[in-house]
Structure formats: structure tokens, C-alpha cells
Amino acid sequence: MALNRSSTRTDITYLSRRVKPAARAETSAPATAPPSSPVSPAAVTSLSLSRSSAPTSPAPATSAATPWAGARPAAETRPTRLFPAPGIGETRLLNAQTPMIRLDRRQSAIGSLLVTGATSAAWESPERVTGAMTVDGAVSGTSIKCSGNRPLVGYMDGTAVVALRHIRELRRSLFIGQPSAPLTVEIFDGGTVTLPAASGELRYILSLTAIDGVIELRAEPVPARADAAELWQEFGFSMTTNAAARRQGH
């Protein structure tokens, strides 16, 4: 069954800002709330992710004119479903033994994430706007420019850079280097991790996935001789044209 990626998931309520009065009024208008919607407002409010031991807050005001009307206790706003994973300070090397690390919310959101040794960087937004850039500056697909007039993913002095202020505009990214050279990741707090150079027929490339604002970095083993275009295809990066990106609101 084909996935419907065009509609907003109203059944996922965690870690979202409260609905402001104006927005609430708009979304509750009959014209924008199809009667056949599979999730009714009542169903949404009945879904509770809070634990019984979680602190409770006074009942929120019910008036839609009150900004606090949509406030939720933090227990409902914190995702707890991520499996345990080491942090960037717990390993120096991403390889077959430790293939993945997870950054915390601060590490995932402050300053720049740098990838040294990457000859190409590909990106995909939550709206599936996809593009790539080589260290030489050649761009495929669609660039994503952030509000600070910087690319979401780009290059600076030969080093790939991710603008973490806009991490929520990034779904995933792929960094590919020369087989003979390692890839090194560095974040604002100085934490680093390295992917080793190729060994025999295998090498590692770096996969970055942003899950609700939290970055996971993974070393992906690939054939040493595969070129960037083959790897983008293998990992499902289909470069979007500018026209397609415009249709998706970018």
C-alpha cells in the first residue's frame, strides 16, 4: 500500500508546540476538517502517552481563546521510544563494532556539524526535497537555503557543514569520502568521531538521520568502488528538480 505523505499526521502529538488560538480556529473549521478524517479530535485527546507516574498539571483551560488551551505536560512532549545508543563521547570510531551513535538535543541543534573528508554530501528534507553537492561545488537536485542565507548542507573550505539551527528542516543526509581516507565528524562542543578508511573491498560512508530533532550518525558499509551516484540511488536519494521542489513548497 502506498504511503500517504501529503497529509499531516494528527495522531502524533508529542514534541509539538501548542496550537495557538488562531491556528486552532483555522484547523477546526469545517472546511479544513474532512468528516471522513480517520482520526477525530476526540480520538486525539483520548490518546495519552503519559505514564501514570508522570507529574500532573492542573486541567488546561478549555477556552480556545486562551493561549494555554493546548498546553500539555512535558511527559507527553518528550519522545521516549528511541533505543539506547552511545553518545559521541563514548566512542572515537564508528565501524562494524560500533556502527551508530546518537547526539543529544543540544548537540543536535547548536552551531555546525562538520564532516571532514567528505567529497560529496546529499540531503533530504522532511518534504523529500533532495539534493547533493560535491566538494568542488557541483550541485545536483535542489539546494535548501535556510533563513540565515546559508545552505542547510553545504561546504566551507572543503569541509561539509550542516546548519544545526535548522535541524528540523533536515530528514537525513549522506556523506561520502574517498575510499582511501577517513571521514571525521565534529560538533560544536568539540566532540569528534571518525569513520575509518576502506579496508579491502569495503568502506564506510556516513549516514545522518534526524529523528524529531535528534541526530543519529551511522557508519554504513558499502562497496569500496561504488561511486556517489550509485550510493545515492542505493540509499534512496532521488534528486528532486527545482520544479518538483517548488510544488512541495520549497
Partner: protein, 183 residues
């Protein structure tokens, strides 16, 4: 209570009996530029009596939008940021909540507050009725990379607000060093 000047304070709960839920709005204007622009990030720090962040989880910003107990939560963007504070839910160990705006330290020309104008912080009721406002005086900001806009603090059994408007030249690292949290 009206407008404050830097350093002044205002009694919130003493003058508004029953006040529990408040809205803190932060705002500013950026002079447009074609090149890389400063990207300002609001941050609420929940501090103990010693002025230190209670924990890394008690930093509330765009990627960690609520404190663990839910007393401080980022809300909307009618101002640049609106932050909901439920004073009744603030843990007893929190003596003050400081509201800071820092320039995101993107390595590609992070910038300063030099192109920022008309900064303000305001405190309003949950119904968005403004209680107090602090328009930060305009002064040279070419080397300012973070700024304390204001703070809520306990005073005996009550909560007060203090206007600050103090800049940092050391950015988020300087803020983290002062408030003892990790970045």
C-alpha cells in the same frame, strides 16, 4: 506596571493575585542582508539559588521545547518566541528563570547583534494581556553575540521580573560558562 528600564524589577504575583500561568514574549528585528545573517536563538535557563542551570534538561529552546516537569514550554512565534511559564509547576529548587538570546554559532559567518534592532521582552497573562515590558535600549552591539533579556525570580513566596539587557561578547560558550551547563 508598564515599561521597565534595565535593572528595574516588577512584582508579578504580588500585584496580580492568583497569577499562575504567564506568557513571556521575546522579539527583535533584523536588518535584512543578502549574505549570511545572524540567527538568533531564544533560550530559557532554569537556575538554582546559586544561579546555575539546574541541569542540561532545564534548558528550554527550540530543540528541547519543554522542561522535564512542563513548567516552561516554548509556545508560538507571534513574538519571535513565546514561552509559557506555569509558576505553580516550577520546581522549588528553581530560584530564577533567565531568558537569553544567543547568536547561533554557525561557522559560516555567525555574526553578532549588530544588525539587530528593537529587542524586547514582555510578560503577559495567559490571555496575552501585557503586564510588563522591557524595550532594550539601542547601543552599539557589534561585538555582542548573546544577550540576557530578563529573568523571572522568586522573592519570598512571590515571583518578580527583572529587566536585564546585558550582552555577552563570548556567545553561547560564555553563557554556558556562567550558568554552568554543557554545550
Amino acid at each position: 506596571m508598564g515599561n521597565l528600564v534595565a535593572g528595574a524589577n516588577a512584582a508579578l504575583t504580588a500585584e496580580n493575585p492568583g497569577l499562575s500561568k504567564i506568557l513571556v514574549g521575546l522579539g527583535w528585528q533584523s536588518i535584512p542582508s543578502r549574505g549570511p545573517q545572524s540567527e538568533l536563538v531564544p533560550l530559557a535557563i532554569m537556575c538554582d539559588a546559586g544561579g546555575r542551570a539546574v541541569s542540561n534538561d532545564h534548558l528550554v529552546f527550540f530543540n528541547q521545547i519543554a522542561s522535564p516537569e512542563g513548567s516552561v514550554a516554548f509556545a508560538g512565534t507571534e513574538d519571535q518566541e513565546q514561552i509559557d511559564v506555569d509558576l505553580s509547576l516550577v520546581p522549588a529548587g528553581v530560584a530564577k528563570i533567565t531568558f537569553i538570546v544567543y547568536v547561533d554559532p554557525d561557522l559560516r559567518g555567525p555574526g553578532t547583534f549588530s544588525a539587530i534592532r528593537n529587542q524586547y521582552i514582555r510578560v503577559a497573562t495567559a490571555q496575552n494581556q501585557e503586564l510588563v515590558r522591557f524595550d532594550i535600549p539601542q547601543s552599539p552591539q557589534d561585538n555582542i553575540t548573546a544577550m540576557m533579556f530578563g529573568e523571572l525570580y522568586r522573592h519570598r513566596e512571590d515571583w518578580k521580573f527583572r529587566a536585564l539587557g546585558q550582552g555577552y561578547t563570548t556567545g553561547l560558550r560564555g553563557v554556558a560558562a556562567d550558568f554552568r551547563f554543557d554545550v
